[in-house]
């Protein structure tokens, strides 16, 4: 209707960030605020024999010290998702204690918290806490954790298994199909553990107000309401209406700030004990040790083809690490957000995945950008690419051969996969066609052959992907094991002057909601974008909300706002009809006013709003005010898809990979702000490239993390990547009012296998078939020497 949807409107939030006026949690100072420092385990696994805090308590400025033997040691943070064993038993769920009690189970686990007047004093005193440990053997690799005799993470579970799980068709049937397939491609690899590394480290301030008996928790979270619920109802058992959770500006999340962390609950407990506010902000070193990690799957997978290259069966066995405890979403990641994507874009008739999820002596593993879906895409795209090459087929052709035919979800039904989901709408061939065109695939092979003659190693790698996002339809995720529904709330408060305040339960930490949501509202109401304010991140302002993750904000949060706007317009029409002395049916709404059809009689949105709040001349039976809240619970996930192509050059002397080009054609449904969507894709792609080439958490044989700083954990820098060439097709989502699908994770999901496929392509003629991620120069060079 209006002028904003589909336009690259500049972001409303930028000026405050560009002038240093953002309000991140660590920027907040409260009167009387104390500072916390943690005493952390130097061991991956040890008995705590004794903790002596006496010297620390005497240190300058110390307010209090707590350990696991204090009351807080009885509390723990919950897991939000339940997965059952194949035999129906409930998953094993250890309490994740606020402070370790009796035992530590990963390096960096907190054993004591020191509160002092200043941060310096807290740090100094923390060093004086003496802890006696008895070190025990540790296991950090998920496959090794399942071997007989592996050190136990929780003594009560003698095989380290948190759960096992499977999805898809009958295993025997899949195995049979593989046995009779024309060709079977098999890969064994590790989808390595990653540290999310939002550049803002996690930060919390808890403030208990004695007079009101109320808590405020300022937290760098992606979902303040969810944190409040988990904190109050599950972690501490305190009344929810007495707790306000605030999350203003957050410096990136990528999943790592979804979860309810022990420090949030612990600080909330501490502030009441000491009667003063208390702040803790992680150092980067602490972030490496305590932020939930991503990925960490050990995989064995087979894909069977017929002689035309059609996939006939897919079978995978995976060991997926959980870490020492179950983080908020952890069990869902290698299961419902992973196995359900094994159909990919292909018509594979038989699919089976077996997952074993062990505890390991590491920080918990949970959602990291893409969460389970990048791992699924990596598996599919490495297999199909390898299969094509082994059979001498073109990697692009084999994908076209296997694509699910187009369906729009309206005239044709959604596509029912072998792995529980029903896709909403899809048209897969055009994205790959477009990406191939952009990269000039036809000519590339000639260029590659020519380059090889000159001793240069060029490679091209394709990846196509689908993801399930817009998390999520409550009924579906409930059936899948979520312990809460995942709708979203959108409230539209029209002020008497016609200005509009929008309260959303989703949360922005880089995604630009203040702009995109305002575009939708301004567009639908036909008003100026300056007249719309988006408010998020405060549990006392928005009624409720589920936050932002799983590319859900626009599809679910945006749709909730649209629902409320519809209600505003419906009620506004009644008021307008009264003022214009016309019937509601005779009115039309455009450009911010109601007009009696065929006349020039009209009333503006602002005048209607004023009337609603000053109802002297008002329709009978209509309540004053113009304020609506809606809960939107989608009927299905949304299913964006796309094709990514990487072009690489491998240095024949050193094995160093240079990314020459990266091309994407994504389909995220309708687009509200192309500039922002492109930005999401750029960032996602580079994180995906990071996994392929640079990133990886490394533990030594004793469970010590040896990649725990930016000196040893490599991430992409500006000079590691080229410009990202993006394009789009549009296949609207048929089941939400905006027709949008979500774009936050797409880049990360598509990029990783494209890069690895490209490197392997460059070296295929040398006999290289696979290289372990990250593809460091040393590993690539070793592979070139036949040592991979």
């Amino acid at each position: 209707m209006g002028n904003f949807i589909g336009k690259s409107v500049k972001r409303k939030e930028d000026v405050r960030f560009l002038t240093g006026k953002g309000r991140y949690t660590d920027d907040i100072k409260l009167p009387g605020m104390t500072h916390a420092a943690f005493v952390r385990s130097p061991y991956a696994h040890a008995k705590i024999l004794n903790i002596d805090t006496s010297a620390a308590l005497r240190a300058e400025g110390v307010v209090a010290i707590f350990t696991g033997s204090d009351e807080c040691g009885n509390y723990g943070v919950p897991c939000g998702w339940q997965v059952n064993f194949k035999n129906g038993e409930t998953m094993r769920e250890p309490q994740q204690p606020l402070l370790a009690k009796g035992k530590v189970r990963y390096v960096g686990e907190a054993v004591a918290i020191v509160i002092a007047e200043t941060l310096e004093q807290a740090r100094d005193a923390a060093e004086l806490v003496e802890v006696d440990y008895e070190e025990l053997p540790a296991v950090t690799n998920p496959k090794e954790a399942m071997q007989d005799g592996a050190p136990l993470v929780h003594d009560q579970w003698p095989d380290n298994r948190a759960f096992d799980w499977c999805i898809g068709n009958d295993r025997a049937e899949v195995e049979k199909a593989l046995a009779s397939a024309h060709h079977v491609t098999e890969l064994e690899y590790v989808n390595q553990r990653l540290a999310p590394n939002a550049i803002e480290p996690r930060s919390y301030i808890a403030d208990y107000n004695v007079a009101e008996d109320k808590w405020t928790l300022y937290t760098s979270t992606q979902n303040p309401h969810l944190i409040r619920l988990l904190l109050c109802a599950f972690a501490l058992g305190i009344p929810e209406h007495k707790v306000r959770v605030v999350s203003y500006d957050v410096g990136g999340g990528f999943g790592s700030k979804i979860f309810h962390y022990t420090q949030e609950a612990l600080l909330t407990w501490v502030t009441k004990q000491i009667g003063r506010p208390v702040k803790w902000t992680a150092d980067r070193s602490e972030a490496f040790l305590t932020d939930a990690h991503g990925r960490d799957h050990v995989v064995k997978a087979k894909m069977g083809f017929d002689k035309e290259g059609k996939i006939v069966a897919l079978l995978a066995d995976e060991y997926c690490a959980m870490g020492a405890y179950l983080s908020t979403f952890a069990p869902a990641i290698p299961t419902y957000l992973h196995g359900t994507l094994f159909q990919g874009l292909y018509t594979t008739p038989l699919i089976h995945l077996d997952v074993t999820a062990p505890f390991t002596h590491t920080v918990p593993v949970d959602a990291y950008r893409g969460a389970g879906r990048p791992e699924a895409t990596y598996l599919l795209e490495r297999l199909i690419e390898t299969g094509a090459k082994e059979m001498g087929m073109d990697p692009a052709d084999i994908r076209f051969k296997n694509f699910i035919p187009a369906f729009d979800g309206v005239n044709q039904p959604g596509y029912q996969t072998q792995v529980a989901l029903q896709y909403d709408s899809g048209n897969y061939a055009p994205v790959l066609k477009r990406a191939l065109e952009m990269v000039d695939y036809e000519n590339f092979r000639k260029e590659q052959a020519e380059a090889r003659k000159q001793g240069k190693l060029l490679g091209i790698g394709i990846s196509t992907y689908i993801e399930a996002c817009g998390i999520a339809p409550s009924a579906v995720v409930g059936a899948l094991g979520a312990r809460a529904g995942l709708y979203e709330v959108g409230e539209v408060r029209v002020q008497p002057t016609g200005k509009v305040s929008i309260y959303t339960g989703s949360h922005a930490h880089g995604q630009g909601h203040e702009t995109t949501f305002a575009q939708i509202v301004a567009d639908k109401l036909g008003i100026s974008i300056e007249d719309v304010e988006i408010i998020h991140g405060d549990s006392e302002q928005s009624a409720f909300g589920m936050g932002t993750y799983g590319s859900r904000s626009l599809a679910v949060g945006g749709s909730a706002i649209v629902k409320s706007i519809e209600k505003v317009l419906e009620k506004g029409a009644k008021i307008a009809a009264h003022k214009l002395e016309a019937a509601v049916e005779d009115l039309e709404y455009a450009d911010g006013k109601w007009t009696v059809k065929g006349t020039d009689k009209s009333i503006s949105f602002g005048d209607v709003a004023l009337t609603a709040y000053v109802p002297h001349d008002y329709p009978e039976g209509v309540e004053p005010g113009l304020d609506f809240s809606s809960f939107y619970d989608p009927v299905n996930f949304t299913y964006p898809f796309g094709a990514h192509i990487a072009v690489v050059e491998v240095c024949p002397d050193t094995g160093k990979v240079t990314l020459k080009r990266f091309v994407t054609c994504d389909d995220v449904g309708n687009v509200i702000n192309p500039m922002i969507v492109d930005g999401q894709v750029h960032g996602g792609v580079v994180q995906g490239i990071g996994q392929a080439l640079l990133e990886g958490v490394v533990y030594d044989e004793n469970g010590q993390m040896v990649s725990g700083s930016y000196m040893d954990y490599a991430m992409p820098r500006a000079d590691d990547v080229p410009m990202i060439e993006t394009d789009r097709t549009v296949t609207p989502c048929p089941h939400n009012p905006l027709g949008v699908k979500g774009a936050g994770e797409a880049g990360t999901i598509g990029a990783t296998p494209a890069v690895v496929n490209a490197v392997v392509d460059a070296l295929w003629h040398l006999g290289v078939r696979d290289i372990a991620m990250p593809l460091t120069p040393a590993r690539v060079w070793a592979a070139m020497q036949g040592k991979s």
Binding site: P42, V107, S285, Q704, V706, S709, M711, D712
Partner: protein, 144 residues
């Protein structure tokens, strides 16, 4: 971390044996060791100060000599704690006479470090051990 290596010394095995099992000498030649205080047979309280470029830390703990075979082999166990992290090294030493006046020391063992030291120091640990063992043998040579 595995530690292995060998070093040839211009002294008979018996002399080398005597020197490296003399706590006063061991205290003097082991890089970083400040004091070795006898707590029991082949058991010492060790206080060391490691000073290596960016890292400087005081360590305290035990040093044990185990599995002694007079003049031939022994195992040194060093268990040290500090604010930077803890270190546990078990290193077997074997003296192989090369000639009457030359002895080859072969050593091999394992070192475990934890805490900040492990996280920040792992990348250089191999080099550190090399530098420290170089210093140890240079000091030992001076004693011979």
């Amino acid at each position: 971390m595995k530690i292995t290596g060998e070093h040839q010394l211009a002294a008979p095995a018996s002399e080398v044996w005597k020197k490296i099992l003399d706590p006063r000498i061991l205290e003097r030649i082991t890089p970083g060791i400040k004091t070795l205080e006898e707590k029991g047979p082949d058991h010492y309280k060790a206080i060391s100060e490691v000073k290596l470029g960016p890292v400087k830390g005081r360590f305290e703990g035990d040093l044990f000599i185990r599995d002694k075979e007079e003049g031939k082999k022994c195992k040194v166990v060093l268990d040290q704690k500090s604010k930077l992290g803890n270190a546990l090294a078990e290193i077997g030493m074997e003296l192989v006479p090369v000639s009457e006046r030359e002895t080859l020391i072969k050593y091999s063992g394992d070192a475990r470090i934890s805490g900040m030291l492990a996280r920040m120091g792992q990348r250089v640990l191999g080099g550190v051990v090399k530098t420290l063992s170089k210093q140890f043998f240079e000091a030992l040579e001076k004693e011979l």
